[in-house]
Each structure stands twice: as C-alpha cells, then as structure tokens.
C-alpha cells in the first residue's frame, strides 16, 4: 500500500481480554516501530524490528505485551490480560533502514473498559 496501514482503527475490549493489533508497513521498509500514545502525551517507544527480529524491545511495559513480525513485513502487537491503563492509541511506523524518515500509520485506538 501507499502508506502504513493499521487495523483495527478502534478496539473496545473488557479488562482481562486478549487483543491483537496489526500493522502493514510501507512496502520495502525493513524497519518497523511500535509506539504508544496516551492522552495528552507524546508517543512512547515500545519495540522495533529490523527485518523479522526484534532489535530492541526495551519499551514494552511488561510481559503482557508481545510483538511479532514473522515474515519481515506485517507485524502484530499482542496484549494479554488487558488492563484499563493499556487504553491508548498504538502507533506503528516504518522506515527504509534504521535512520531513514519515519512514516506513521493512523494508529489503533484501544479502550479497555
């Protein structure tokens, strides 16, 4: 596609449930990033992939959060046992290489009731 695509755009779930958020980066971009943006805050780094491997997952808040990118293109962010504090917009971004311009998707807004 022309840009970074994220689905779903909105997800409402109940506390304790499992959610998956998907990101389809710009074709050919090898680097993929997940950020989380809470209300009134700037985006906060979660994890970055170079190809299929997670090059840096130091931003994942705890072991309920996990992300994969099995074929080096689409990535899925998985959140287990969701908590109300997980409510935020989850932004995906991709770049050509690790220091090229970063292109963001529209984000997935997660609301945990």
């Amino acid at each position: 596609g022309a840009g970074v695509s994220q689905t779903p755009s909105n997800k409402v779930t109940e506390k304790g449930k499992y959610v998956e958020l998907r990101c389809d980066p710009i074709s050919g971009h090898t680097a993929l990033y997940w950020y989380r943006q809470s209300l009134g805050q700037g985006p906060e780094f979660l994890i970055y992939f170079q190809g299929t491997g997670a090059a840096d997952d130091s931003g994942l808040p705890n072991d309920r959060f996990f992300a994969v990118r099995p074929e080096g293109s689409v990535s899925t962010l998985k959140i287990q046992r969701t908590e109300r504090g997980d409510s935020a917009v989850y932004l995906c971004a991709s770049s050509l290489g690790t220091s090229g311009e970063l292109f963001f998707g529209e984000g997935s807004r997660l609301t945990v009731l």
Binding site: Q41, G42, G59, L91, S95, T98, S99, L102, F103, R109
Partner: protein
C-alpha cells in the same frame, strides 16, 4: 534519562499571527531533532535538524537548532486554521536509529 520538554503546552492565536514553539532536550549521544505535526492520529514529518544554526524552511514553517543551549524552535508565520494541530518534538540518539524520545507536544489552535 533522555528528556524532551515542549512549551507552551497549548496556545490559541488568530489567523495571520506568528507563533513560536519551543523544544528543549537532554539526551546522550544526540543525533538529530525532529518536528512532527499531528492533526488526528498519524504524526506527519516536518523537519529534521542535525546541525546548529542552520534554519530549515518549508513554506510558512521554519525551524532552527541550538546544540549548545540544547533547544529548538519551530516558527509558523501568517497562521491559518489548517495549522491547528499538535506539534511534536522528538530526539534521536546516535546508536538508536528511529527509537525517538518525544515531548508531550504543543496544542495549537488557530481561530478564524
């Protein structure tokens, strides 16, 4: 710990006014400072600054970096209602590629 602080948190101006947004930072092994505009969800890239004192300009927007005093400003002249958005400042470290540290943003509202 890396830190990016933006000011003001928000401001309201009238069309035609000039605004200056501020960004100060503390980061180890600084590589670049970036400005983004966020209107709804996706931040869109405005500028990347790596060298002190060199102004970058795009239409009515311009930005400059001071690496000695560790700050940057974003200027918008002759503001329009379409400039209403959140403006985000972020810094990148040498060794971390696009693992950016963002400030909280400045909310700009331009009234007609």
């Amino acid at each position: 710990e890396d830190k990016v602080v933006q000011s003001p948190l928000s401001l309201v101006v009238h069309e035609g006014d000039t605004v200056t947004l501020n960004c100060s930072y503390e980061v180890t092994n600084f590589r670049s400072l970036l400005w983004y505009k966020q209107e709804k969800k996706a931040p869109t890239f405005l500028f990347m600054l790596t060298s002190s004192g060199i102004e970058k300009k795009s239409g009515r927007l311009s930005s400059i970096l001071d690496k000695k005093e560790l700050f940057s400003i974003l200027n918008i002249t002759a503001t329009q209602t379409g400039d209403s958005a959140i403006y985000l400042c972020a810094v990148a470290r040498m060794e971390y590629g696009n693992k950016l540290v963002f400030g909280a943003g400045t909310i700009l509202r331009v009234k007609s």
